[in-house]
Amino acid sequence: MTAPAAPATAPTPTPTPTPTGSVPVTDGHIVVDSVGKDYVALDGHVVHGLQPVSLSIEKGAFVSVVGRSGCGKSTFLRLVAGLEDLTTGSITIGAERVSGPPDSVRYVFQNYGESLLPWRTVGDNVRFGLRHGHGPRRAHGRTAEDQLIEQHLAEVGLHGTFSRYPGELSGGMQQRVAIARALAASPDVLLLDEPFSAVDALSRGTLQELILRIWQERGLTVLFVTHDIEEALFLSQRVIVLRPQGAGVQRDAAVDIPYPRDQVDFREDERYLALRRDVLGLVLQVEREAS
């Protein structure tokens, strides 16, 4: 209740660009042009992972993708991350056409626990991100690098975990390590696949605020996948609803509510409530039609 209500007239904020002036801003503008993906299942059947989708996501935007399980959310992220070949269409990030993993994109996987290197300490996992990131933030000398890693860990609230192993951490903490590692690579675009689905409600709120803070401080373009419509609305400037079974975009809704958003107040905001009713209704209707 203490948080001041945001002025209703405030425009959508333009996130501050990365403070490090030396960073060549590769631009996080993403253009998705009728992108589709078919899989051939082991039994020979063709499965539609995602039917042609066209989108334009401007640099520095926070966009969420929601939809029921199997609707192609992860497929979409994998395509943007250049991990899979497109069946149709093309994806452009900045001036570069995606064919293979772009240097400016980092992906925090749905099963983040498995994506950490369990034989490396938390600090060395972040070092992995640093060493395999794009150039400018690379530190000279081991101590300087260690300090940088400590900073990255502190940024996600993981003070003093440098020399612990991922297996010794809770799921939520592992998720933070995965995020810190991705950030250490100083990407322009951050892809997050259901990052908080395995986290309890309280930690989830903290993590949501963490992501929003990082997004604003770094001026990242964030593509956030979740199955939780309320979470999507709270976080993003724009929510994209996918139809079930890879059938493409059903709804592309702008969330014109200014930041900073307060966890409690936001959920009483009338614009939020209207949007939620709208989107939920749509999803449920499709659900009913499907069954």
Binding site: G82, P101, R106, F109, P118, G129, Y165
Partner: protein, 313 residues
């Protein structure tokens, strides 16, 4: 019970079994070309029971530890000794006689030199087998081309018993150290190849994709992701290779019949020198136990992190 469950099924005891557990991984090799599927974890790795977290009475702790096992060993020796006082049976001798012979053989006899020669040969073979076996197995798991190239030969040679290959080696290489090194090398190679292969195949899809998104080169991916991922398997392979080498260490001296601990044992047997025979056998057992213990120690150091991610305290 839990302790038994925790002890790995792989050559852990002093008497090395014939390639225990190798078959699990071997089956993978027979049936699977490199694919994206993760093979099941073939073998339990790392030894030792988990340290008890709960405080227990000294008695219960003793019962749950290996102390009971060692007590049993000591008891058997004592009973043996006492019964030999009551009624001496020359065919099984007695612990004190064996111990005296053992000491004499160690200090002035042929036991140590012969053992040393065998161990040296074995070490050379083992040290050669490690890099060769790991490289072949790992690359077979990581590259379809290498797999296609080597899988048939590996399969054919792997399934040929070393005892059948031995006469060929003797024919071409003679009976000296050269031939013996070749035997140790050949026998040690296959558990290493098979387990390294299984390890290289076990790299999870998520980890491979992580390497991809961080844009690691092929070489970086192998070094930073695949090899560490495969390491627990590779260590199992190395321990199996050690087990086979120990068996061969004795057998080879007997078959070649000119030197080494096997030859020493053979002679003692032919001369009906029970004390020397048993002293030699016990020494071999001891060496096996020590090598294995050493290996477990190294293994635990190398894969310390594993304790954090498997179901072991």
């Amino acid at each position: 019970m839990t302790e038994l469950a925790n002890t790995p099924p792989v050559a852990r005891g002093t008497v090395p079994g014939p390639r225990p557990g190798a078959d699990d991984a071997a089956d993978l090799l027979v049936s699977l070309p490199p694919s994206d599927e993760t093979p099941p974890v073939p073998l339990a790795v790392a030894g030792g029971p988990a340290p008890a977290v709960v405080r227990r009475s000294p008695f219960r702790r003793f019962v749950r530890s290996r102390g009971t096992g060692w007590t049993l060993v000591v008891l058997v020796v004592i009973v043996w000794q006492v019964s030999s006082f009551i009624h001496f049976e020359p065919t099984i001798s007695s612990p004190d006689r064996i111990a005296r012979t053992w000491w004499r053989e160690i200090t002035e006899g042929q036991l140590l030199p012969q053992l040393g020669r065998t161990l040296e040969t074995m070490a050379i073979g083992f040290v050669l087998a490690i890099p060769i076996g790991i490289t072949i197995g790992f690359l077979m798991g990581r590259s379809r081309i290498v797999w296609g190239l080597l899988e048939p030969s590996v399969e054919i040679i792997r399934l040929t018993p070393v005892s059948a290959i031995l006469p060929i080696f003797i024919l071409f290489l003679g009976i000296e150290q050269e031939m013996q090194v070749a035997v140790f090398l050949t026998a040690g190679l296959f558990p290493l190849i098979i387990n390294s292969y299984a390890g290289a195949r076990s790299v999870s899809k998520v980890l491979s994709q992580t390497a991809q998104t961080y844009r690691l080169s092929w070489w970086q991916t192998q070094r930073e992701v695949a090899l560490p991922s495969a390491m627990p398997y590779i260590l199992v392979g190395a321990r199996q290779a050690l087990g086979i080498s120990l068996v061969l260490a004795v057998v080879i001296g007997m078959l070649a019949g000119n030197s080494g601990i096997g030859y020493y044992i053979l002679l003692a047997q032919q001369e009906f020198n029970i004390n020397r025979l048993l002293a030699a056998v016990l020494t071999v057992a001891l060496i096996g136990y020590l090598l294995n213990a050493l290996f477990l120690l190294a293994e635990r150091r190398i894969s310390r992190w594993r304790r954090t991610s498997i179901g072991e305290g």
